[in-house]
């Protein structure tokens, strides 16, 4: 009996470790899944807020983009977009962020559309004409009331280990994209 008891105890040795080996990958998977999704949503939120802040900044033409010599508001240009890109990269501490900014002057017919970008994006930018077409149609009587609209698109590659990007092949988890728009102020 004594022998049996000893052999049973010996038999139990390491069983927790062996079971844990089976369980550990599942636990790690759950943790990584939560971490991955959390990080995704958190970064998406950051990017959304940043794009709205940049749209607000670029739309404050009277305050930030006034030609001091002529006292006229400057048109959107590449330099302004490059400056916005620098702000975006500094804010999120990520040199890989790409930006595309549209200006839609809609109180003339046809609408004046222009866009400038900075950084090599993995995302597909929207075309200015598509955005313009999706905005409300303007009647000629109210044409003069139509404000200029600025659209900011941001694209941030998701770098580092990601369960979804590594194993699922889902394109959504390899980059983040956001678009915000606002009116000229």
């Amino acid at each position: 009996m004594k022998f049996n008891q000893k052999s049973q105890i010996k038999y139990q040795k390491g069983i927790v470790a062996i079971e844990f080996i089976f369980v550990l990958p599942i636990v790690i998977l759950v943790i990584l899944l939560s971490f991955d999704l959390s990080r995704y949503f958190q970064q998406q939120g950051q990017l959304d807020r940043l794009s709205y802040s940049l749209a607000t900044m670029i739309s404050h033409r009277q305050q930030y983009y006034l030609d001091m010599n002529t006292q006229k508001i400057k048109q959107l240009d590449q330099q302004q977009v490059t400056e916005l890109a620098r702000i975006a990269r500094n804010q999120l501490n990520d040199e890989n962020i790409a930006i595309n900014v549209h200006s839609l002057v809609r109180n003339v017919e046809p609408a004046l559309q222009s866009s400038f970008s900075d950084g090599s994006a993995q995302c597909q930018w929207q075309s200015s004409s598509t955005i313009n077409q999706n905005l409300p149609t303007i009647t000629s009587a109210n044409l003069f009331k139509e404000p200029t609209i600025f659209v900011v698109e941001l694209c941030q590659p998701l770098i580092g280990f990601s369960l979804f990007s590594q194993f699922s092949g889902a394109g959504d988890f390899t980059k983040l994209y956001t678009r915000s728009l606002t009116v000229q102020r």
Binding site: S34, F41, R49, P147
Partner: protein, 415 residues
């Protein structure tokens, strides 16, 4: 034996315990992770929706089309242009003063969070914006407090409060300044820098007394007499260059200055409208004088706004070169006695045109039983006067004549 077998059983039963424990723990971990991820996603979506609603509110406020269905479709289209919000349709719009409020709702997917029968969480947020003029406007409110207004003090206070509210809504903060010039016969002034320090109490001011030099006791006559024409020219003459300013201090034992002077002092230009309201509310009753003299108050109103005088009232007032300027006169148009002819003569000599030439427009609110064809109507012009009930239209006229239109309306966010 019994003990041994018990130990054996208990040791055997531990086999698979870790797996069983894990089977219990993993769903709990999944649930906690799911809740965390769902909350994170929901909060992010709510912020994004709030930004989009705010931008949509700015868009329709700037367009200012006053068409409910068009505003709704415009706001919906605008919000749908935001990434991730292309299918948001649950949008409502409410009117704010000079602007709109946009409320939007969005269904977000949830992970392992129990909700009411549906598999989505409803997220709502809102944004509101309004427009106000970005241009500057200095306005002198010239108000008749003579005896003819005796029965309408309560109405007057309500009316002026409404007018001030309207002005506050139509302009951005700090862009409009108001001054107050209550009058009956004369105008009451207190603590003005241009008065000698010894005069630092309520004074009854005769705005044209400078046309007479100082009274000489020895000769029994005034040292100099100036004509109505000179008076017209002297409206904007700096106070240090005027011959004489007649002041009558308030006696210490009464609140009344003298018959014909209001019980509240004029208020120089201020951005703080509460001071204007407070000063009006300090008014208790009109003087007993039945005569109303308009020209003193018009001259003092012009001096509140002109570059020669605006900075001379107190340390807080300064002349704003870039501000549009207007005198807004509240009165029934009835003046009396010999002053009718004096004012008529001054109008003929061009006193009102002189004020306009200085860049100060004059408008009138017909208040009480208005006397048509009166001097004040001749001075202002019938097209620039309106009954109180049409003040909003008069304000539109004031803004358009000042070149303040919808193209220079400034957007601002509201709570």
């Amino acid at each position: 034996m019994r003990v041994n077998s018990t130990v054996g059983i208990s040791l055997k039963s531990q086999q698979g315990m870790s797996l069983i424990a894990s089977l219990i723990v993993i769903p709990v971990l999944l649930l906690i992770g799911g809740i965390a991820v769902t909350l994170s996603n929901t909060l992010g979506a709510q912020t994004h929706l709030g930004d989009a609603s705010e931008a949509a509110a700015m868009y329709i406020s700037k367009r200012n089309l006053d068409n409910e269905s068009e505003n709704l479709s415009a706001a919906t289209a605008f919000i749908n242009q935001y990434s991730g919000l292309s299918d948001v349709t649950d949008i409502s719009i409410s009117k704010e003063v000079n602007g709109y409020r946009v409320k939007a709702r969005l269904d977000t997917p949830h992970i392992l969070v129990p909700t009411d029968n549906s598999n989505v969480i409803k997220v709502a947020n809102q944004g509101a914006a309004a427009t106000a003029s970005s241009q500057k406007f200095d306005i002198a409110l010239v108000i008749d407090l003579s005896g003819s207004q005796k029965g309408s003090i309560g109405d007057l206070k309500t009316i002026l409060s409404d007018v001030i509210d309207t002005l506050e809504q139509r302009f951005g903060i700090g862009n409009v300044r108001l001054s107050l010039v209550p009058f009956s016969n004369y105008v009451s002034i207190e603590n003005a820098d241009w008065l000698p320090e010894s005069h630092n109490r309520l004074q009854c001011i005769d705005a044209i007394s400078f046309r007479q030099g100082q009274y000489d006791i020895n000769t029994g006559s005034y040292s100099y007499i100036r004509s109505d024409e000179d008076t017209v020219d002297d409206v904007f003459t700096h106070y240090q260059d005027l011959l004489y300013i007649s002041t009558t201090p308030r006696p210490y034992d009464t609140k009344w200055l003298e018959e014909g002077c209001p019980d509240i002092a004029s208020l120089p230009l201020t951005e703080d409208f509460s001071k204007v309201i407070q000063r009006i509310n300090e008014h208790e009753e009109p003087s007993n004088s039945g005569i109303t003299i308009y020209y003193h108050s018009i001259i003092m109103g012009a001096r509140m706004l002109s570059h020669q005088w605006a900075g001379e009232w107190n340390s807080e007032t300064e002349f704003r070169e870039d501000a549009h300027k207007a005198i807004l006169i509240f009165g029934d148009g009835k003046d009396g006695g010999v002053y009718v002819y004096e004012f008529k003569n001054m109008i003929d000599q061009g006193i009102c045109d002189n004020i306009r030439d200085e860049g100060i427009e004059i408008y009138g609110i017909e208040y009480g039983e208005f006397a048509s064809g009166s001097n004040i109507q001749r001075c202002i012009g019938a097209d620039k006067m309106s009954p109180l009930s049409e003040f909003s239209e008069l304000l539109d006229l004031m803004l358009s004549q000042a070149g303040i239109d919808e193209n220079n309306q400034k957007l601002h966010l509201i709570r």
